[in-house]
Point group: C2
Chain length 411, copies 2
């Protein structure tokens, strides 16, 4: 029997079997959370023309030299330019143009004075101080210049990126197709959502968990229901699931008499691994089922969640073409009772908080692998290494952030 892989070795094998999917164009109105298929470069300047930052009067700065309270300057009010219009003609010496915020500064002018700083009467604008060139003028291309990379390829589009692309007319945008992820749940003991429990049964929860987690990862979940512990039923479900980009199963990967996923993957597929030196989640299998990668998660809900996080989500992110496929790993200060080290890496569900500007992690409570409540409120997985001794209160420990807020963009 092959020695158990480390998490890093197992993840490398998973990622070696998946590639980014094809590209499609989507309107910016449907681009939230999608991943750019390539760098998006500015084809226009933003703003497209020099424009006024204020409601006021556009003028030639040179005309205002020497203006003062003692020697006020009078400019002839020669016209008006609201936002959305262009002033026809060129502004001459001694002239000023009424201008509104966002309107293009007229040809010949190089500054705008705020309306609060002048008096206007009888067709004359009176200033009592000089105005420096470029005052209140937003230059063309000041936000983004033609040729600048606006958003790199492999970036998940949030509201800010979408606004920037819209402002530059980069619509629609090329994104990578979302992977369709089949979910096949196995186990004779499972009652489907909404069904009453028969004696000995439990409510199935991995399907809805995985649906939600796949959506959050950017994938398109395709739940195929619960399959009982019969080999032919499982094979039928997997044959159907082959149309997906990725198959997730739950259950049937341990050493028990009914651990059929492993049997199918060994017999009909090409198994890359089936055990990983981690806790929770040791029995996790991965291989190709025909042309489709298949990740066999444990049936235990907590083990399924943690192994999805460490192997399933990176596979989905790779298929999405995301530049960052893994959760960011940061350092935090552990607060709580000692956690003994063991013979497998332990992923402890934790809640992050802050003490001043320091990140502090508390566990979510009892960490037994059948306690679904240990997932609730978790914002990080503490990475407690193999070894002797323990992680103690005040120790610095690595943590996987279950949310990309740090240091990646979220807005």
């Amino acid at each position: 029997m092959e020695p158990m892989l480390t998490v890093e070795e197992a993840r490398a094998r998973v990622l070696a079997h998946v590639q980014p999917l094809g590209t499609e164009a989507v309107p910016l109105t449907a681009a939230l959370g999608r991943v750019t298929a390539q760098d998006v470069v500015a084809l226009e300047n933003l703003p497209p023309f020099a424009n006024s930052a204020m409601d006021g009067y556009a003028l030639r700065a040179a005309d205002t030299d020497g203006a003062s309270e003692a020697a006020p300057l009078r400019l002839r009010l020669a016209g008006e330019v609201p936002a959305g219009r262009v002033y026809a003609g060129e502004v001459g010496m001694g002239e000023a143009i009424r201008i509104l915020t966002g309107a293009p500064t007229p040809a010949g002018t190089d500054a705008v004075i705020q309306q609060e700083l002048v008096t206007v009467a009888d067709g004359l604008v009176t200033l009592t101080a000089p105005v420096a060139p470029t005052t209140n003028v937003r230059e063309a291309g000041g936000d983004a210049r033609i040729g600048r990379t606006l958003v790199r390829g492999g970036v998940e589009l949030g509201p800010a990126e979408i606004a920037l692309l819209a402002a530059l007319g980069a619509h629609p945008v090329a994104v990578t197709r979302r992977p369709r992820v089949a979910i096949v749940t196995t186990g004779d003991e499972l009652a489907p959502l909404g069904a009453p429990l028969r004696p000995g049964q439990i409510h199935e929860s991995n399907t809805v968990y995985l649906q939600a987690a796949i959506l959050r990862a950017g994938g398109d979940p395709w739940p195929l229901g619960i399959v009982g512990d019969r080999l032919e039923d499982l094979e039928a479900a997997l044959n159907r699931a082959q149309e997906a980009d990725l198959i997730l199963t739950s259950g049937g990967v341990s050493v028990g008499d009914y651990d059929l996923v492993k049997q199918v993957l060994t017999r009909d597929g090409d198994m890359a691994f089936w055990r990983v030196r981690m806790r929770p989640g040791k029995p996790v299998a991965f291989g190709m089922f025909g042309q489709t990668p298949l990740l066999g998660l444990p049936g235990n809900p907590v083990s399924a969640a943690v192994t999805f996080e460490l192997f399933g989500r990176p596979a989905i992110r790779r298929m999405l073409g995301a530049a960052q496929v893994e959760r960011p790993q940061i350092e935090v200060v552990y607060a709580g009772e000692g956690i003994p080290l063991g013979d497998r890496t332990h992923f402890v569900r934790a809640r992050l908080t802050t003490h001043g500007a320091t990140l502090v992690a508390h566990t979510t409570g009892a960490q037994d692998s059948h306690l679904i409540s240990s997932l609730q409120g978790a914002t990080a997985l503490l990475v407690v290494p193999e070894g002797e001794g323990s992680v103690n209160d005040g120790d610095h420990v690595p943590a996987l952030l279950l949310n990309d807020a740090l240091p990646w963009g979220a807005w």
Copy 2:
């Protein structure tokens, strides 16, 4: 003219005008991101019955007293119980039952021995060590007991909460209705998404920004298009928008000649404020338009984003019944050039990172309010107070987290 309100005063006025919406039941398959309308209490135990944590043999612990390598104990293999079944009858003294992970422990037994620790031959199970009571038995209700509050009201449901509710049969779940949020964008200078620019025009970006930001906040965006700078067009759009739970406008709230939203709100509505002592975003208006709350955001994209964040998102979260309507405020260490204080609270777009376990914030670059690129990659808003002096490299400053990862749940 009323003195300008602080952000806190203005937000209190907004929140005083909005209430949680009604309740609806949704299936757990559609519950991701929804907010619980009330506490959800366990009506069953989880797990529903005592069950085996291992594949092995269920037995009476007392039978195994004194078993050793020298004096092995033999138990009679009296039956089998796979997951999903219940063993009929009671297990007697000197008997063992083959049991699989998750199967109910048979009546009469109080422990399970792992299959790896026994030998089985000729209908006999041989042990070489005693087994303590409760070994490998998961007690009924160990994860959640009947009557326990599983998820409090006002909590956004993530994958973990959905799994817990599913495992307890709490399906469907009562959530608060999502607010429908109308978006009315004003300005003659705006070209709609996909339209070429005419001279003097710019691409409109606030609608898609707000659509995405409303979705992220949990609302249901209803874009009503761009309205030109004509009072009757704006009134027509707002009359239609009154069917929404909240109206967001962008543009038309400054002191310019074309600032029509303020005029309409003053004449036809009931204006609660229209200026706030903040930067960016000073001109932001709020009031009731008929029975519908209306938040008038500035037209400037950065000002619109920041004022949505500070006033629009909390209004939506309150309507959603969320327990936490505001972004969490934490402390971070500022890294960068000095930021001079001014006469308004300055919300500086920043990117958080870590140095060891310390949270460090860098600005996203130039902070001029017309630079949409200043929003990109922002994970926090630094709250730079009014006053004299400056915020300098190494100073601890408050920051609003633009993502709820800390300290709230994200899994």
